[in-house]
């Protein structure tokens, strides 16, 4: 057993209201600079939809993630020789247009226009060239338009459904959508890291955050192609690639990452998971349908004395283990098993998990309003959002796995409805619990964690113990006085 700690997260999709506050918080903090205008380390996309960059899930085009080659895993981008051969000419990069050309408006012209008969207008201009431009796309161009004929219809997940399923999905009375907020998943088997020819990307030993060393990055952009989630971006002004840093400077002082902190829907949970690093490769080698279960298996129980002893030996501090025991992520992912990784079939073992949304699946239209269907038990088979679509998103196509999650979520609904509305019989509730394989207490716990938590329960930042790390080299007090931020060189082209 080789135990490591990973700061991971859960996004509860039923709670996301699609307000994009998270994206803006992130942009203001990290990507409000020249050369990174188009980057959204946090973006929220509407599903069905092609996302950002366009059709990022289509690995036939972008060649991100891993594939099985015999009994080995290989980057879909190619082997070492292939990477080297393409090093000056990486053929699998999204174009600026696939993200979108960032734009602003000439607001000054609204106030400086001379008096006249026409309303002054602010023309849109490109933030890259400064020239007037026609706005054709944005990072969530089709926001809320789940039925659109271009972007929703060409969602790679939709394209793999049968013709009937598609017709059903896009029937006007049944149109439905969900929001999918995405950040870097800080994967266990990160493809970005494996693709980097300069060895500039590393996964921090103490918390598993994946970072790009700005001094070592040479701008080859292999990580941009290799990451199947398209969550590393090339900054054209510095000539370096950048990605979500999970706000590690905030974590190190005990604060939640900015997107977590600002989330209006309070959908975001954060906590430490313990996992067995020796089993990463075996887990990533499973068949598509077994990937979720395999990933769940290498996550370890922080209450198991054996695990705790091994973790202590591996050098994980007691305070971190304590934080792992309070981790809401552990509850969602391992104990309740209602949170799933996004696209496990990319085989990077992403460590951001999603509770799939219940409402778009089991709601119906009734006299012009949306409400929950009366018959919970049979709706899964002809769910409003086809289960295959959700299985394509969260379980590598395994519909049984996603059904199990929905049965649990529905049991929570039914039991709570009996308590708050009182129109269901106890036998119905018992049947729901039996189907969902959850106990009444678990349901209560899920409900409380979903709806009635404080930020300290949702976001359990482990102590990062910077002082201890510094102590090894010098007196922490002296370090504070003398080192400032340490020696830093601004990221820019140096070759």
């Amino acid at each position: 057993m080789n135990i490591r700690a990973q700061v991971s997260s859960v996004f509860h999709l039923d709670k996301c209201i699609g307000c994009h506050t998270c994206s803006i918080a992130c942009k203001n903090l990290w990507t409000d600079r020249k050369g990174v205008e188009y980057m959204w380390w946090n973006n929220v996309e509407t599903k069905p939809g092609t996302g950002y960059p366009t059709q990022w899930e289509n690995q036939e085009k972008y060649r991100g993630g891993w594939e099985k080659k015999g009994d080995r895993l290989q980057l879909r981008l190619g082997g070492r020789g292939g990477l080297l051969g393409n090093i000056f000419h990486n053929p699998r990069l999204p174009t600026m247009d696939d993200y979108y050309e960032p734009f602003t408006y000439r607001y000054g012209e609204l106030t400086s226009a001379p008096a006249g008969n026409d309303q002054p207008t602010a023309r849109p201009v490109s933030m890259i060239s400064g020239r007037p431009m026609k706005i054709e796309a944005g990072p969530n161009w089709d926001d809320d338009l789940s039925g659109s004929g271009i972007y929703a219809a060409n969602d790679p997940g939709v394209l793999q459904l049968s013709r009937e399923q598609r017709a059903q999905m896009f029937a006007v009375e049944r149109l439905v959508m969900l929001y999918l907020p995405r950040i870097c998943n800080h994967c266990l088997n990160a493809a970005c890291l494996a693709g980097c020819p300069s060895g500039a990307i590393y996964k921090r030993g103490e918390d598993g955050i994946v970072l790009i060393n700005q001094d070592k990055c040479r701008g080859w952009r292999m990580c941009v192609s290799a990451c199947p989630y398209k969550k590393t971006y090339y900054g054209w002004a510095t000539g370096k690639s950048e990605k979500c840093v999970l706000c590690y400077p905030r974590l190190e002082v005990g604060e939640a990452p900015a997107c977590f902190h600002s989330c209006v829907g309070r959908i975001r949970y954060l906590g430490v998971l313990l996992y067995d690093a020796d089993r990463i490769e075996a887990a990533a080698m499973q068949d598509d349908k077994d990937l979720v279960a395999a990933q769940r298996q290498i996550i370890l129980d922080p209450f198991d004395p054996q695990v705790l002893a091994a973790a202590g030996k591996a050098g994980i501090a007691e305070q971190v283990l304590e934080a792992a025991q309070r981790s809401p992520v552990y509850l969602f992912v391992k104990k309740w098993q209602i949170a799933l990784p996004l696209h496990p079939e990319f085989r990077t073992l992403p460590m951001l998990f999603y509770v799939p949304p219940l409402l778009p699946v089991v709601s119906e239209e009734h006299l012009g309003t949306q409400r929950l269907v009366d018959d919970y038990f049979t709706t899964l088979e002809n769910a409003r959002l086809p289960l295959q679509y959700l299985a394509g998103l969260f379980t590598g196509g395994n519909t049984e796995e996603i059904k199990a999650v929905y049965r649990k979520l529905m049991a929570v609904r039914i039991q709570r409805r009996r308590i708050t509305v009182g129109d269901l019989s106890e036998s119905e509730v018992a049947k729901a619990r039996e189907l969902g394989e959850v106990s009444a207490e678990q349901i209560e716990a899920i409900f409380r964690m979903t709806a009635l938590t404080s930020i300290r329960q949702r976001i359990v930042v482990p102590p990062m113990l910077r002082e201890q790390a510094i102590e090894a080299g010098m007196d922490p007090e002296r370090h504070k006085q003398e080192m400032g931020f340490g020696s830093r060189r601004s990221p820019k082209r140096r070759w």
């Binding site: 053929p91 271009i150 219809a153 060409n154 939709v158």
Partner: protein
Amino acid sequence: MKNGWLRQVSLLLICYLWFCFPPSACAADLVDGDPQRGKALFAGTTSFAQGGAPCLACHGIAGRGMGMAGGASFGPDLTSIFDDYGAEGIVGTLDDLTFPSMEPIYATRPLTAEEQADVGAFLAKTAEEAQLPTVSRMTGHVAIGLAVISALLVVFGRGRLQGVRRPLVLGVRTGKGGRR
């Protein structure tokens, strides 16, 4: 226009005549020189008596394939130096190498009279016999090189991602791709 054309032809003719009957002459005291020994001195297989550096250290002779790879490129190429300087010029120069970059070396390590004669004879022979790569041959090489590079670019660039969003939108609008 017509005149221009004529002028070009006459210029070409003059060039051709120069090429066939180069205005070179062998100086009297170069006659005693041995071009074979001159060549050895030039290339450094025989050292200069006074210890001066061999010519090839800085100068190439493209016409004889010496120092062609760009190694000997500090000084100018000497293939046709004899034609430019003439016998007298060569004799004078070899006797007294007063170029700013050569003087520090050869002022204290001059070439002996015999060496001067040998090297001079070698240069004279070189100018006579050497074949400079002709322009047409070079053009051919350049063309072949370009063709090979473009072919490689085409081969490697074929699978390159050409953008996703725009083709998708165009495809849907024209009914040629995408769905719906």
